[in-house]
Amino acid sequence: MQRKKTKLNWIDALVVLSIAIFVIVIVRRVESVLNYTWDWSKIVPFFIYVDRETGEWTKNLMIEGLLMTMRLAVYGIVASAIIGVVMGLCRISSNLFLRMVARSYVELVRNTPPLVFIFIFYFFLSTQLMPVLGIEELARSDSPTVQWLIRILCGDPVLFSNFISGLVCLSIFEGAYITEIVRAGVQSIPRGQWEAGKAVGLSGFDVMRSVILPQAVNRIAPPLANQFITLIKDSSIVSLISIQELTFMAVEVGVSTSRIFEIWILTAAMYFVICYACVLFFNWLERRAARARR
């Protein structure tokens, strides 16, 4: 077995140094060639500012966008996981119809570009489904508790139905990939486990619940965590159907301030922080699960 290097040597230092020089050169060139003056102060108010009237710190567009992205991430992860598990189990069901439904769903999503899928789906959803489901009515409800709940959970009630469509698009889209992860995980459990479970007289449901799924979970977890990270990053796509999340806000602020570089660098940093925090969290979960299995 190869030993891992634990210390950096002078070659590594050289590489780091040259990358740093390269970055500085690029920044200089942006200034000179594009005649661009870096000005970070101008975009700060778009994150947070002091309200003139109340004198309090108030969050602005970018933080609103960040919150929206986090909402999309959290609800999207839950919803796509549910879709993925249900469809994944349909995918391996003994019922031909269920298998066909799940297979069509997966192939449809996998073989269309995300953007095209989301456009089609969004226009169908927002024009057809949302009114039928009464989402609009709910958002316009007079009840202050409903308004308050929507504001806390989903942001501005005016954009509620919009938010729901975006969320559903994203979840359905990512759910297809999770379906495949679940299917592969369950199918990776050897056939002997099914046979042993049935032979001791367990029903198919009990074999699934007590024998197959607990083993499959360990194999599903790493690719699933990976897919969740992808979901967070993919959530930027819904900016194109006017969901006011981080990317959408970055476009707005970029246009109105023309501080393009600053705003996008900060946006990237914010995505990075969210995603990396998730990576660390999932790693921690995995280590904990591994320890519990000892």
Binding site: E195, A196, K198, A199, G201, L202, S203
Partner: protein
């Protein structure tokens, strides 16, 4: 005349185009010990797997303890609760401890309480002589110990019939005996058993009936005394001379 507890009538089984069982008819009485042998691919596994419907037979009739095996899921489940099975590859549940392996089915399928199920489980671990391994995981046990756990797991459902599919074939030679000893003891206690094995010493000790299969057919059924000394069929003779020569 005792009524048979397992009854196979004209059982055929196809895997796609390939016919694995041809018109297999066969009875097992309560308390009878049957040893099945035959060359590789002759359909031994397929036949005993049809008895607890791990394989579906395509035609013919299989009745176990008065219940006919059909599409009916309830029937299948009740048959499986009466029939234990031990596999060549043990097939223990690797994510559960030995004790949890043993109590799972009694708790789920027999609706026993955990204390009851654990009590039975410990009794059977005692019988297969590994009560001290109860809290270990299968991967921490030797092959022989794992197979004994698998036997105990089947016994915990208090089955009337036990099926063994080459239970010692995946074991190192020094572990074969400990598993066979457990099986011999089980036979002495009057368990109805169908054992697919090439352990002819074991067969001579416990079998009431020897069955020889070849190419998906039952070729010969005889008590061990005549089976080993004067087999009727040439194919049986050839097989025995091959297997007894080593």
């Amino acid at each position: 005349m005792q009524k048979p507890i397992i009854k196979l009538r004209g059982v055929c089984k196809l895997f796609g185009q390939f016919q694995a069982l041809y018109d297999v008819s066969f009875d097992v009485k309560l308390g009878e010990r049957v040893v099945v042998c035959g060359p590789s691919g002759s359909g031994k596994s397929t036949m005993i797997r049809c008895i607890n419907r791990l394989e579906e037979h395509d035609s013919g009739e299989i009745t176990v303890d008065g219940i006919e095996l059909t599409e009916d899921m309830e029937n299948i489940l009740s048959v499986r609760r009466e029939v234990g099975m031990v596999f060549q590859q043990f097939n223990l549940f690797p994510h559960l401890t030995v004790l949890e392996n043993l109590v799972l089915a009694p708790m789920r399928a027999r609706k026993l309480s955990r204390t009851e199920a654990e009590k039975t489980a410990m009794e059977y671990l005692e019988r297969v002589r590994i009560p001290d391994q109860a809290s270990k995981y299968p991967a921490q046990l030797s092959g022989g110990q794992q197979q004994r756990v698998a036997i105990a797991r089947s016994l915990c459902m208090k089955p009337k019939i036990m099926l063994f599919d080459e239970p010692t074939s995946a074991l190192d030679p020094e572990m074969i005996k400990e598993v066979l000893d457990v099986m011999i003891e089980l036979a002495r206690d009057g368990m109805t058993m169908i054992v697919v094995t090439h352990e002819m010493g074991f067969a001579k000790t416990v079998a009431d009936t020897m069955v020889f299969m070849d190419h998906g057919r039952i070729v010969e059924v005889a008590p061990p005394s005549t089976f080993f000394t004067s087999p009727k069929s040439d194919r049986t003779q050839l097989f025995l001379s091959q297997i007894l020569s080593h």
